[in-house]
Subunit: 396 residues, 2 copies
């Protein structure tokens, strides 16, 4: 028996455990202080009424012989996929429902999609980055090339023709930097991918935070993308489904490599290694697309965006530079006074009683940066930014 | 870009599409005939009241800021894992809750567990078999050795010391044959696995159909198994969760290979490539373990077992030999008159208007056999067996 020794090469992430440890130690030593967390990437608002109603109805379905649903299609129920076809049509993207696969979340699919590709492919991953891209490829023993995202390119790196890549990860709006690619920039990536015969894995989990038509919310809004890109999206941030688990992955029919349909490969993978998302959950997700559902989720997103604006405005007043905050729930700021990520973490914890996420945890280019998130409640967000302002004005 | 060409080696399964095609053609040609399906492996009874109540309560939790659950632990909530610790204790198996991982079903985990093992391992799979074992390993390019299960060994093959294996699949009660290993037989497998340094992947999805204490319901009831086995189980057949999606996988702390804890590897795999089972679903699953929940699910299992008995008794009267039916929802019968699996399928469809599953679809040793399932309703099961009896007595 040989184990998969690539697991030994995965770096242990101490980021969130270290944050928890430092926070708990501080709270223990200062039990009278109220600590506010602006570090989490998890939503806090409850599911909207329309979704709740649909979930209850679906539970009732499961209580009768007539309404009961056993095994469903692994790729998702048509009733939900058809809603997504319409959702994409609203973006000007024409998809067949068989190009859409309902999943239990973008994280699962971003990892599982790698089953379709040979170990012997070069993977291009921006740094800083959502750690899952790196870890899943390391686990499979693939060669990773990092792409520098930094202040010089506004954390929106563009392709370098001299770099050979087979699998390319892009995340826009980006986690952790909040930066968003525009149409021209994404077109460069699509052209590069086609020239390289590469496939872009496009993580669109935060697309709902983009306002207006100036920025792309789907890579398929770029000409040629159906020939070179798989898109991953989720109800997690759109509709507060982080604990309810539903996402979707788009694999276009036009995506063909070595004369093989990647769509057919993914269908085969999913029918073999997955059994679909719960009927109840898919019914809940479908309710997001009713008129009332859309109204409610847009209110929730607007609420989080207002939080982001509050954070961004406070940083503007302090003269601290940042990316994100406008079409993203993340604000990625340059630590003041050239502090390191962890120095600034300690400073905010001790002097402002606010917990954020040190950028160094997202890769070497994250050093010297810091992530704040808009997913808290209003009162705490306002209070946290007032405290941060006071602390910086007083001590720095 | 190189695709994973192992996908080309996966055999297309025409089994269920062929069954659907033949059935639909027959129904179209004979619109007056009422066709009964005794072929499906899916449950038909609705979720029990206690589970429904708990699902509704959990949906209500998600509707308030206080009760809302965002990201949960990837390995499952403690409230459900603790119930499983008690469930296993009732079988005489002592587990820590950190040895239990909640999943979206046994099928997913049976495939995903392979991430932990090197490609260069020899896989031992019984034939006939649940096709997922073969397909997931073919997808990863592993060498498969088949183990003959047939009438000579009662479809319960035992280890052959001369065969080298690293990964061993066992399913008991078996799908499709319904055969169940006893303590002595499983002990032989455990001893063999330890001697070979192999790991047994034990599929216990049908354990709840075993009555009495004469047969093992968990491989950990066998001494030494914690050093060589991973157990996969599910609420699908126990509590009708085929469309609600919840299962669990046990990876003991004692399972160590190459000085590496397999439990820690699986935790790393799951935290990286999975985001947990919906809070709502886990709350529903936990309700299975209340006194009322246990009473209700036992009634449902008893109902299906009574169906199995009706099928088995009819076969007894016809003098047709079979395995299963007693501690299993599956009845695996020898086709009468040496008919092939598909000949008998056509015979039953045309002469009795009953649809079953041809054994040939489960591997070469399935040829000449046929699977009937106990998951239908009582009325149809009784009627189907009467029709089968009449048809066989009249035509064969």
């Amino acid at each position: 028996m040989k184990i998969n020794n690539n697991f030994n090469n995965i770096q242990e992430s101490y980021l969130f455990s270290m944050i928890a440890k430092k926070t708990n130690e501080y709270k223990k030593a200062n039990p009278d202080k109220e600590v506010i967390r602006l570090g989490i990437g998890d939503v806090t608002k409850p599911l909207c009424k329309e979704v709740i109603k649909s979930l209850h109805d679906a539970v009732d379905d499961m209580s009768t012989a007539e309404g009961f649903h056993g095994y469903g299609p692994e790729q998702g129920y048509e009733f939900l996929k058809e809603e997504l076809v319409k959702y994409y049509a609203g973006k000007g993207v024409c998809l067949s429902s068989d190009e859409i696969f309902i999943s239990d979340g973008a994280k699962s699919d971003l990892g599982n999609i790698l089953d379709l590709f040979d170990k012997d492919n070069t993977v291009l991953i921006p740094d800083p980055v959502y750690p899952v891209y790196v870890d899943t490829n390391t686990m499979a023993g693939r060669n990773i090339v990092f792409l520098n995202a930094d202040g010089n390119n506004g954390f929106l790196p563009l392709p370098d023709e001299s770099v050979k890549a087979d699998i390319i990860y892009l995340c826009s709006p980006n986690n952790p930097t909040g930066a968003v690619y525009n149409f021209e920039q994404l077109k460069e990536w699509v052209d590069y991918a086609i020239k390289q015969d590469a496939i872009i894995l496009f993580d669109a989990a935060y697309e709902c935070f983009i306002s207006g038509d100036d920025l792309p919310t789907s890579i398929y809004q770029i000409e040629g993308a159906k020939k070179c890109a798989i898109e991953f999206c989720s109800f997690s941030k759109t509709a507060g489904f982080t604990g309810t688990r539903c996402g979707y992955t788009v694999v276009p029919f036009d995506l063909v490599r070595e004369d093989t349909s990647i769509n057919k490969m993914w269908l085969r993978r999913q029918t073999t290694k997955f059994n679909g998302v719960p009927y109840i959950v898919q019914k809940g997700a479908a309710a997001v697309f009713t008129a009332e559902g859309q109204k409610e989720i847009k209110e929730a997103i607007a609420y989080y965006k207002e939080n982001a604006l509050i954070i961004a405005s406070a940083l503007d007043k302090l003269g601290i530079s940042y990316t994100g905050g406008k079409n993203s729930p993340y604000i990625w700021l340059k630590c003041p006074n050239n502090m390191s990520s962890w120095e600034f973490f300690d400073f905010l914890l001790e002097k402002a009683n606010v917990v954020g996420t040190p950028g160094a945890g997202f890769g070497k280019n994250g050093e010297g940066y810091f992530r704040l998130t808009a997913f808290g409640n209003r009162e705490n967000t306002v209070k946290a930014m007032e405290r941060i302002k006071e602390a910086i004005e007083k001590y720095l």
